[in-house]
């Protein structure tokens, strides 16, 4: 097996009395895209800072491309890492091209490289304008261009699609897919967003500095064992009269079916002549996420009661 690009082993980090991360384990392979989910204060940014080497872990080992990122000798490898921080305000009085050229030079790249990146993210037309005239979406694109400097082997993106319109979001995801085929590993740090699941290989859900779940979406969905929603049309209330289906009907008139009964119910429905359409929806990422959050809440509560 190849050595992972990022490896966290039993990593913990405290800020004074606050435990920001505790016993985190993660291996990120080359060309893998990981979705890192959790709400504000869950420890997402702390984890990114640890991987970037801006802060050091209190316990455990952080290894990035075979080195400790907080060590001085690992600095040259930072040119191969791209980071998009959340809510970054670039130098307002500079033009987009000036900002990107500055950052490109710091990574040993040229002005023409900066120009090419501005074209790639679609703001080349505004590169001669001051950043203060940019819209939220344009600033976000500039930030992305900044993260893409030097064809990084590892990309850490904090809320990359905030402020992007649907078109730009689609373009962004296609850039991620493209980078992935070039062998770039990506950590997408985000609140759960619709559409993100097709672009990530694995998801990691954290809360309160602890890992709640880590695996492919299919694995997480299977482990959560969330029911499938089935929405048949054309049955005209026959559902409630059917002895087999009756128990699955929910308040909206749809069927909520556990994974193991899904096929049985579908066959039963398809046998009905009056059925003219059917929609089957597996639990989406958001529901999986909610499930894991709710589960920890429950264990916390039971612990408190005990």
């Amino acid at each position: 097996m190849k050595t992972p690009v990022v490896s966290l082993e039993n990593v913990s980090k405290n800020y004074k009395s606050l435990q920001a991360l505790s016993s985190i384990n993660l291996q990120l392979a080359q060309g893998e895209v990981l979705g890192l989910f959790g709400h504000n204060g869950a420890g997402k940014t702390t984890m990114m800072k640890l991987i970037l080497g801006v802060i050091s872990a209190d316990a455990g080992d952080v290894t990035v491309m075979g080195m400790q990122p907080d060590n001085k000798s690992a600095w040259h490898m930072r040119a191969k890492m791209g980071y998009l921080p959340e809510n970054v305000m670039f130098y307002e009085q500079l033009t987009g091209l000036e900002v990107l050229t500055y950052f490109a030079r710091l990574k040993g790249q040229s002005k023409s490289h900066a120009k090419a990146l501005l074209e790639q993210v679609g703001i080349a037309h505004a590169m001669g304008r001051q950043v203060k005239t940019y819209s939220k979406g344009m600033r976000q694109r500039l930030g992305l261009a900044q993260a893409f400097i030097g064809e990084p082997k590892l990309l850490l993106l904090d809320e990359p699609t905030v402020g992007l319109d649907p078109n730009a979001t689609a373009e962004f995801y296609s850039s991620v897919d493209q980078l992935k085929t070039q062998g770039t590993s990506v950590v997408l740090c985000s609140h759960v967003l619709p559409g993100v699941e097709q672009h990530i290989d694995r998801a990691m859900i954290i809360s309160g500095g602890k890992t709640l779940a880590l695996g492919t979406i299919a694995e997480l969905r299977a482990a959560a064992n969330l029911p499938t929603q089935i929405k048949p049309q054309g049955l005209n209330g026959a559902l409630l009269e059917d002895s087999m289906l009756k128990s699955y009907v929910n308040s909206a008139g749809h069927l909520t079916v556990p994974e193991q009964d899904k096929l049985k119910v579908l066959r039963h429905l398809l046998a009905d002549e009056s059925l003219n359409d059917i929609a089957v929806e597996s639990a989406n990422l958001e529901q999986v996420y909610q499930y894991y959050l709710a589960k920890t809440e429950q264990t916390k509560n039971t612990k408190a009661e005990a």
């Binding site: 800072k49 801006v54 802060i55 921080p85 305000m89 130098y91 710091l106 900044q146």
Partner: protein, 272 residues
């Protein structure tokens, strides 16, 4: 080195863009040319005044202005980037904290140094063309060198403030207090000590105390070589102490290096 120069270049360009270089140069030029030609107006005459009077008046004005300008230019250098989020971003680049600090210092220090040379140099040149006395260039040379060092010293002090402060507005407040302390309070306190101390303060002790203030060292550098009839107050006594101009300049250089070193230590321990 490439990293330091990249940062320095950006900071220098910022100084040009924000018209800092232009306005500081203009202030210094107007001041020095004005004092050179009209310094004697108070005594009823217009025309160039004596070199020592000119330098004495220039020094006593510059000692207020230069620290204020340097603090204004640099107080938000780090805290501003911290608020914007670019400081964290820069530190994820292949760029050490010291390289960032030195780069900023080179860039912003370059603005101050260039403005000092151009601004005060212009009147030195004017005087020299009129009188063609080599002593003018020498005296102004010391003045410009010490003024630059004074500016750099307060740039480094501004970095300390900028690295400690958590907000831009707080940094501005602290910078103002710092200026007030070094430019005014310190000398008043010295005077009070001089007058109030029963046994009287020895000349050496007084001079040693003055070494604790870069602004006072600057004054001493420029007044030491002059006719002491143009100088009065606590300074006149201190001047008689036997420190050479080059020793004083070395001390001023120490006042550049020390705050810079402290800023580096603060930066190293700064939480992000």
């Amino acid at each position: 080195m490439r990293e330091i120069l990249t940062v320095a270049n950006k900071e220098f360009q910022d100084g040009l863009r924000n018209r800092w270089l232009l306005s500081i140069t203009l202030i210094f030029a107007v001041l020095s040319v004005g004092l050179t030609y009209f310094g004697a107006a108070a005594s009823g005459a217009v025309g160039t005044t004596s070199l020592s009077t000119t330098i004495a008046s220039l020094a006593s004005l510059a000692v207020f202005l230069i620290p204020l300008i340097a603090l204004l230019l640099s107080y938000d250098s780090f805290v501003g980037e911290q608020e914007g989020g670019t400081l964290l971003l820069l530190l994820t680049y292949p760029l050490s904290k010291n390289q960032l600090l030195l780069g900023k210092f080179l860039g912003q220090g370059g603005i101050i140094a260039l403005a000092t040379v151009l601004g005060f140099g212009s009147s030195a040149l004017l005087l020299f063309i009129q009188n063609s006395d080599i002593a003018i260039l020498q005296t102004f040379g010391y003045f410009i060198l010490s003024a630059t060092l004074l500016g750099l010293s307060f740039t480094a002090i501004a970095y300390m403030i900028s690295l400690v402060a958590s907000e831009k507005s707080k940094a501005a407040g602290v910078a103002l207090i710092t200026w007030f302390f070094f430019a005014l309070v310190f000398d008043l306190a010295l005077l009070a000590l001089l007058v109030g101390a029963e046994t009287g303060l020895s000349q050496t002790a007084l001079t040693q105390l003055m070494m604790l203030n870069p602004a006072d060292i600057f004054r001493l550098v420029n007044l030491a070589g002059l006719d002491s009839s143009d100088v009065n107050g606590a300074l006149a006594i201190a001047i008689k102490a036997n420190l050479t101009q080059s020793q004083l300049l070395m001390l001023l250089l120490g006042w550049v290096a020390a705050p810079l070193a402290i800023a580096s230590i603060i930066f190293k321990n700064k939480k992000l």
